[in-house]
């Protein structure tokens, strides 16, 4: 399908129609990625700062039951969780967010297929949008993305002016999705969207991820880790707002004497409990080791295993860090060390 043009009004109308059809529409608003209540709420501001958290919550919830159980005197009965078969549309997400689903899909479908993730993502249409925001924390270009990257989007929007967007269909799923909305689309004008893309300010590329990976491989015991890691407070803010951090913990919770649920909860590698063994031993006993793990996982282990950097350069973790630790600065530092070698 050729590139089309759609007005903001029509995008809103589209949303309203989706909502009427009982589709969940998620879009970045001032207070984060929220479920819209009406199409009018849609802002689609490509110049807006990143929301505090990514939309990860909607494909990989902060907490969800994965099984229910009923205990009797000698037995336990297990009951599957019925997933709601409901379509979700993520509307107007930044390229660095949209990309996350593709990265996550790999880990959730590697040895064990995570049905919860798969059902949700299969039911999700992602409508990405070109990003015109760039601050000191952004570094998507250093991890192979860009503000105009449509990778991961089913449909991609490029703002042309206040009211008009170029609409590019990226995947067949997107094509299928947009069909009923043909009435809202106008034919595109050649070159207009490309010109808009050219105008976008790209963040400067600050490190070479290959070199970073190589340095990490060879510098497990480097003093650098200690220097940067000791200021970390050990919360999981960075992991929980990150579009691609995906660690989780599984706990059982009774809700009465005989019945309960098994919950899958977000977890974070910066917690001291994360690697605490039952014996009391903790291989990552101090914060700098935990911080090393975070960086290594993102820039070495995950790339090694899945050929994907576990980072989209969105800079969220840095913006929200209570002690202003900046992943961009830290990995850039690694890059510099790598260059010196």
């Amino acid at each position: 399908m050729d590139e089309k043009i759609i007005t903001k009004e029509n995008l809103k109308a589209m949303c309203s129609e989706l909502l009427k059809n009982n589709v969940d529409v998620i879009s970045p608003l001032e207070n984060g990625y929220l479920k819209l209540k009406s199409g009018d709420e849609l802002t689609l501001d490509s110049k807006a700062k990143h929301t505090k958290a990514s939309f990860k919550e909607y494909v990989f919830p902060k907490t969800e039951p994965i099984i229910f159980y009923k205990k009797s005197q000698s037995d336990v009965e297990l009951l599957d969780v019925k997933m709601e078969d409901k379509q979700t549309v993520i509307f107007g997400a930044k390229p660095c967010d949209v990309r996350s689903i593709g990265i996550l899909r790999k880990v959730f479908n590697w040895d064990y297929k995570d049905e919860f993730f798969n059902v949700r993502t299969n039911n999700t249409i992602t409508i990405g949008m070109m990003c015109q925001f760039c601050d000191d924390f952004c570094f998507c270009t250093s991890v192979g993305l860009s503000p105009v990257s449509s990778e991961g989007s089913d449909i991609f929007l490029i703002p042309l002016d206040e009211n008009n967007f170029a609409l590019r269909v990226i995947t067949p799923k997107g094509e299928e999705f947009i069909k009923p909305f043909g009435k809202y689309l106008m034919d595109g004008i050649k070159g207009k969207s490309e010109a808009a893309e050219k105008n976008v300010k790209f963040p400067e590329k600050v490190f070479d991820s290959e070199k970073v990976k190589e340095w990490i491989t060879n510098n497990f015991e480097n003093e650098y880790w200690n220097t940067i890691g000791k200021m970390c407070l050990g919360c999981a803010q960075c992991a929980f707002v990150c579009p691609v951090c995906h660690c989780f913990d599984i706990v059982d919770e009774d809700y009465n004497y005989t019945e309960g649920r098994r919950m899958k909860n977000w977890d974070g590698c910066q917690f001291d409990m994360f690697t605490l063994h039952a014996s009391g031993h903790n291989p990552r006993d101090i914060q700098s080791k935990r911080y090393r793990q975070r960086i290594s996982h993102k820039f070495k282990y995950y790339p090694d295993k899945f050929n994907e950097i576990l980072c989209t350069g969105c800079g969220r973790c840095s913006r929200g860090c209570p002690v202003s630790m900046d992943i961009k600065e830290i990995v850039t530092g690694i890059g510099e060390l790598a260059n010196k070698v």
Partner: protein, 666 residues
């Protein structure tokens, strides 16, 4: 875990309102329950044998009995379980009688509640740990606090059994209130005549260390192992040198500045003084407040007359530490103060009786001194204002007692008797005198007591008027006593020469302070609390601390003496073994989790939390954590609740156990 459940019908007591069969059946479906039965009397031998047999046959390692209150039969069932080879602490009791069958009518509802309580207990027992009682050694020395008749009796009993006693008295002499009394009811024995030999016996007893003019400053430790610090107040007289000749007091120029405490302020005493001639020890003290030497350094008459150079103006308070196994508290009482409002604002004084305003309105102890042969009037009945013999005396009972609006609601117990005695003593000496007693009820329960009161009324002609006095005022040298004769239903007015108020026995002013020092409970009135009013009347709830006499509640001499002997017996029971067994319900610290904030230490009433340093292999201190002294810990669990990360847990009531009980609600 294999748990056996045993439901007791308690004859019909439980069975009548709880469907025990249904409870047993329901319990059989609880996870881990492998055996669930009911029986008529679980505490009977066959009942206990059922438990033992089931433990053996089914290899049970947990037992829950649904029966009466654990306060009744927990020990019984624990013992049965223990006999069958299972740790006694793996047995839990669900209270199906006091808390269910006796308090509910609806059988359905009661049975449901019983099942719930059983579930709580099953869930708890699953998480019980096998525990061992704690063994602690016993120091076989007794501290007796208070040298009144109760303290004297207790000290003598313990000492005569062969154990050392430290007797601490805050006044310069032992003897207490009994030494102030004239004669005693109902026999009219001379109080001092029967008391003094006992005082001397204490003084001469090789096993008794007597410390007068001393106070307990600090009590550390626990049953069998107390460490007590005693403040020996400076007497300014060296007790090792003084021969008790009394010359100093005779020569002391201060004669009319200090009122005698012993004579209840009806007479003067010198600045250096022995409270009364028969004092034990017969060693004077100097009253710093009135002594001229201490005021301006000008007089030292006593130093001059003392042949043994025993006067030591530079003497300081001494602190003496004693190792003690048992403490007997016998601190006695004081009389209700009526001349001014007591500190507690809710208690109003008896301003309308004019005590403190009219010299001839006196309280019970003052009248004792007036009646006493050793008193300021040498036993002659003279009224304080002008020394005239009172021809008409009004006695008013229940002043401060049985009167919620002005004093205390309790009955002071001895006043009926001492008033009858007072009136009788008066009538015996002033034959033409008239004695009126205003009373509310006459309470004369005791051997020969009622007879004694009848004698006062019938033989000695004391006039008893049932009613309260509303007001006393002076008119022309007479005291107009206005009241009501409730039997006749008429207002009554008596112009008396003297009025005696039967003021109540109340707790010592500093009773709460001592209670806090020792760490034992006291009631709203300031009397020390016994563990159980019927079955454990002489034990305080603090282990190893026993009570004797009026510090526990108002009581007379025979009761005090009996109680003192009982307390002594309790101390001796304690000394009967070398080691003590204690419930293992104590706190325990998980040192890995302890962050060393020491909130546990702050809330511990027993100083049971100590600071322990955790060191690495090189001996460097890594951190400081809390450590529980298992001897001191009494197991209240306040530390457990206060600890934010639950690094300290109360064994027997762990968080896990309590959680399990809560979770068993639905």
């Amino acid at each position: 875990m294999k748990i056996g459940v045993f439901i007791c019908h308690c004859g019909e007591n439980i069975g009548r309102t709880v469907d025990c069969v249904r409870v047993a059946k329901a319990c059989s479906f609880f996870p881990n329950v492998v055996h669930s039965v009911e029986y008529k009397y679980m505490c009977s031998d066959p009942g206990q044998n059922m438990i033992k047999q089931a433990i053996k046959d089914l290899k049970l390692d947990g037992v829950v009995v649904g029966s009466c209150s654990p306060h009744m039969h927990e020990k019984t069932f624990r013992k049965a379980v223990s006999d069958a080879g299972v740790n006694p602490f793996l047995c839990e009791i669900a209270n199906l009688r006091e808390h269910v069958s006796w308090v509910h009518d609806d059988k359905e509802v009661a049975t449901d509640k019983a099942i719930d309580l059983m579930r709580f207990a099953v869930e708890k027992v699953k998480r019980n740990a096998p525990l061992k009682t704690i063994q602690v050694p016993v120091t076989k020395r007794t501290l007796v606090i208070g040298g009144g008749i109760a303290g004297i009796q207790a000290a003598l009993d313990v000492a005569n059994a062969g154990y050392e006693v430290v007797l601490v008295e805050k006044e310069p002499s032992i003897g207490g209130h009994m030494s102030q009394l004239s004669e005693t009811f109902p026999t009219l024995d001379c109080s001092q005549c029967i008391l003094t030999p006992r005082m001397v016996e204490v003084y001469q007893h090789p096993k008794i260390k007597l410390m007068t003019y001393s106070e307990v400053e600090k009590v550390e430790g626990f049953i069998g192992n107390f460490k007590v610090t005693i403040r020996k107040k400076a007497r300014f007289v060296d007790d090792t040198l003084c021969s008790g000749c009394g010359d100093c007091a005779i020569k002391c120029p201060i004669k009319k500045k200090a009122l005698s405490e012993f004579d209840e302020k009806l007479a003067f005493r010198s600045a250096i003084y022995v409270p009364f001639p028969q004092a034990v020890p017969n060693i004077p003290v100097i009253d710093k407040e009135v002594c001229t030497y201490f005021k301006n350094g000008k007089c030292s008459m006593c130093v001059k007359v003392c042949g043994r150079n025993a006067i030591k103006f530079d003497q300081q308070d001494e602190f003496i530490s004693e190792d003690i196994g048992a403490i007997i508290v016998a601190t006695g009482y004081k009389l209700y103060t009526i001349d001014k409002k007591p500190e507690a604002s809710e208690i109003k004084g008896y301003g309308e009786y004019g005590y403190g305003k009219y010299k001839d309105v006196v309280d019970g102890l003052q009248f004792e001194r007036i009646a006493s042969a050793s008193g300021p009037t040498s036993g002659e009945f003279q009224r304080p204002s002008d020394g005239k013999t009172p021809k008409k005396i009004v006695f008013i009972q229940c002043v401060g007692s049985r009167d919620e609006s002005k004093g205390f609601s309790y009955c002071s117990k001895i006043c009926c008797m001492y008033t009858a005695k007072h009136a009788m003593l008066y009538k015996h000496k002033v034959h033409d005198g008239e004695a009126y007693v205003f009373y509310m009820d006459i309470r004369a329960g005791g051997k020969m007591y009622e007879e004694f009161v009848r004698r006062a009324i019938e033989e000695d002609g004391v006039k008893y008027i049932r009613g309260r006095v509303s007001r006393i005022y002076e008119e022309d040298g007479k005291y107009i006593v206005k009241g009501e004769d409730t039997l006749a239903g008429v207002p009554i007015q008596i112009d008396a020469d003297m009025v005696v108020l039967a003021t109540a026995m109340v707790a010592q002013t500093d009773a709460p302070k001592l209670a806090q020092t020792i760490g034992m409970p006291y009631d709203n009135y300031g009397f020390y609390s016994e563990v159980h009013p019927k079955l454990r009347p002489v034990e305080s709830s603090t282990g190893g601390v026993f009570l004797a006499g009026a510090c526990n509640s108002p009581r007379d001499i025979p009761d005090s003496v009996a109680m003192a002997s009982a307390a002594a017996a309790k101390a001796l029971v304690l000394f009967g073994s070398d080691m003590l067994e204690r419930e293992p319900t104590i706190a325990f610290v998980n040192e890995n989790l302890c962050a060393g904030c020491f909130y546990c230490k702050k809330v511990c009433a027993y100083n049971a939390i100590e600071v322990k340093q955790i060191k690495d292999k090189n001996g460097n201190v890594i951190k400081e954590v809390a450590f529980v002294n298992s001897g001191l810990c009494q197991g209240c669990g306040t530390c457990n609740a206060t600890c934010p990360s639950k690094a300290i847990e109360l064994i027997g009531y762990t968080d896990e156990q309590i959680y399990a009980e809560i979770a068993a609600l639905m």
